[in-house]
Amino acid sequence: MEDLKRRKRLRHSLIALFTVIIFILPFIITNNYYRSVLVIIGIYTTVVVGLCLLMGYAGQISLGHAGFYGLGAYVSGVLTSTYDVSPWIAILLGAVGTGLVAYIIGIPIFRLQGHYLALATLGLGLIIHVVMMEEVDITGGPSGLTKSIPYLSIGRFELNTDFKYYFLVWIVALAAIILANNVVHSRIGRALRSVHGSEFAAQSLGVDTGKYKLQVFTLSAIYASVAGSLYAHYITFISPSPFGLMTSIQFLVMAVVGGLASIWGPIFGVTAITLLTEGLKYIVPKMIPQAGGEYEIVVYGVILVIIMIFLPEGITSGIVNIYEGWRHRKELADVTSGDK
């Protein structure tokens, strides 16, 4: 199939081009603050790519991903600061451990549907958060880890600046995107999308929907865990507060605002939301002097509502829809006329 191959080539060259842009960006942007914003965007993107895979392809909402994000951060933080484990091994252990937790808890959770599933993931995230707060001997409780978390290093090369860390974070984020892209265009990805199309038909073709949903749930938890580890080694201090329900909701918002149907959605969603919050901090005081965070919260909420009303399928499909509105109509005409 020539057409199919061409599409694949196109996909790959797009990813390549994006990679190039990502690697040029920190050389253009010399301001460390903007670099650090990009680092955070990269970390969040990794989480949200997993979440999009889960929501957009497996059709399952999760209100508990901050829990997995936190698990990764805490495994990395505790093992490296208290037990002097090598950071890379700690990241790996965090990912495996979080994956196991997600898989085991996922077995009963995925017997639930719709809002019940959403509530169960919310509960799971909350329980993880409570454990972080209460297991004071291990986690340091609500005040966070007592010792500071070491920087990551490759051999002697310490990733101790925003500039260096940027590359690590975005290599991981790109890997996350590419691997997720592989999944989407594989037998598993097709099976998952088919469940979206018609669960009955998918089952009647031999697709074990529960199994794949669980697998993708696990994969997305691992993504979140790795991102959490990266966060811990970046800020070098963690406490339970960035891993609570509000963060889970923020991830959800990013995923939906970006659009669930495309692998590019997470980048748009995360970038839009992060730039929005950081940008409002810059713009609002200029427009209303003496204004505090109150105005930003209102504007943030209103903009969120407006985006969702006008681009209900997220920014990605919104843009695409506008761009190819006429094309689509033409294509439709082709198909129907060809049929007569």
């Binding site: 199939m1 199919l4 592989n182 088919s194 038909a201 089952q203 074990d208 697998q215």
Partner: protein, 256 residues
């Protein structure tokens, strides 16, 4: 031994018997038609055989194995494929992708393979595309492979569903009203495809209202009425069965 043996299959919905103690068997390579007035329990029968509903009682033996209690995807894995009365096309996918899902049970790439597509995975993927294209060619949709499935007209969507089902290379194919909504040309095409499949060794059970087609292609017929098996036999036997005629006339009355 027969390929499929249904005995005393029963399903009740809140006390109403949709299928009541139905038994019949299907031999290898046969074309069986299940007919009956609306609400006779035909689609329910299919749903019971494919694991979408769990029966209240009775059993279904496929190749000697009881498939009752099995989940739908496992039954599909054993080699039973089906189409749906209300089309269940994957509207979010292209025509080709629809059929590629049909190859699901015949391929084995797992999540790890999906994440890291080594050459074995890529080879399998190519194979899936090739096989899927063959099935599309069979139903005459090869030139629409890259089109979004939701953009196909109704008749072609029905063909797509059939090609998707046979991509599974089933031993037993269940067709739920394949001719409904098709014009006469399309129906002729359908009949040809069914014969072709039979020649390839696929056993077919179909639910159909188009009596002309049914009488033409079915080796045997099973007649259901209000969940009960009314009769079973060759087309000629059924056409002369007084009970069947009465049941159908009754329905006609109601319709008028």
């Amino acid at each position: 031994m027969s390929l499929l043996e249904i005995s005393n299959l029963t399903k009740s919905f809140g006390g109403i018997l949709a299928v009541n103690e139905v038994s019949f068997s299907v031999n290898n390579g046969e074309i069986i038609a299940v007919i009956g007035p609306n609400g006779a329990g035909k689609t329910t029968l299919f749903n019971l055989m494919t694991g979408i509903y769990q029966p209240t009682g009775g059993q279904v033996l496929f190749n000697g194995n009881n498939i009752i209690g099995m989940s739908a995807h496992r039954i599909a894995g054993l080699g039973i494929a089906r189409t749906f009365q209300n089309l269940q096309i994957f509207n979010n996918m292209t025509v080709l992708e629809n059929v590629m899902v049909g190859r699901h049970t015949k391929s084995k790439t797992g999540l790890l393979g999906a994440i890291f597509p080594i050459s074995r995975v890529q080879r399998e993927e190519r194979e899936i595309v090739e096989k899927a294209m063959k099935k599309l060619t069979l139903v005459g949709l090869a030139n629409k492979a890259m089109v979004g499935a939701d953009n196909l007209p109704y008749g072609r969507q029905k063909m797509l569903e059939i090609s998707r089902a046979i991509a599974l290379e089933p031993e037993l194919l269940l067709l739920d009203e394949p001719a409904a909504g098709l014009n006469s040309t399309e129906t002729r095409k359908l009949v040809k495809i069914i014969y072709k499949l039979r020649d390839q060794g696929v056993t077919i059970i179909l639910v159909e209202h188009d009596m002309e087609t049914v009488m033409e292609i079915a080796d045997r017929l099973v007649v259901l009425n209000f969940g009960n098996k009314l009769a079973e036999g060759t087309p000629v036997e059924i056409q002369n069965n007084q009970e069947v005629i009465a049941a159908y006339l009754g329905e006609e009355d109601l319709v008028c």
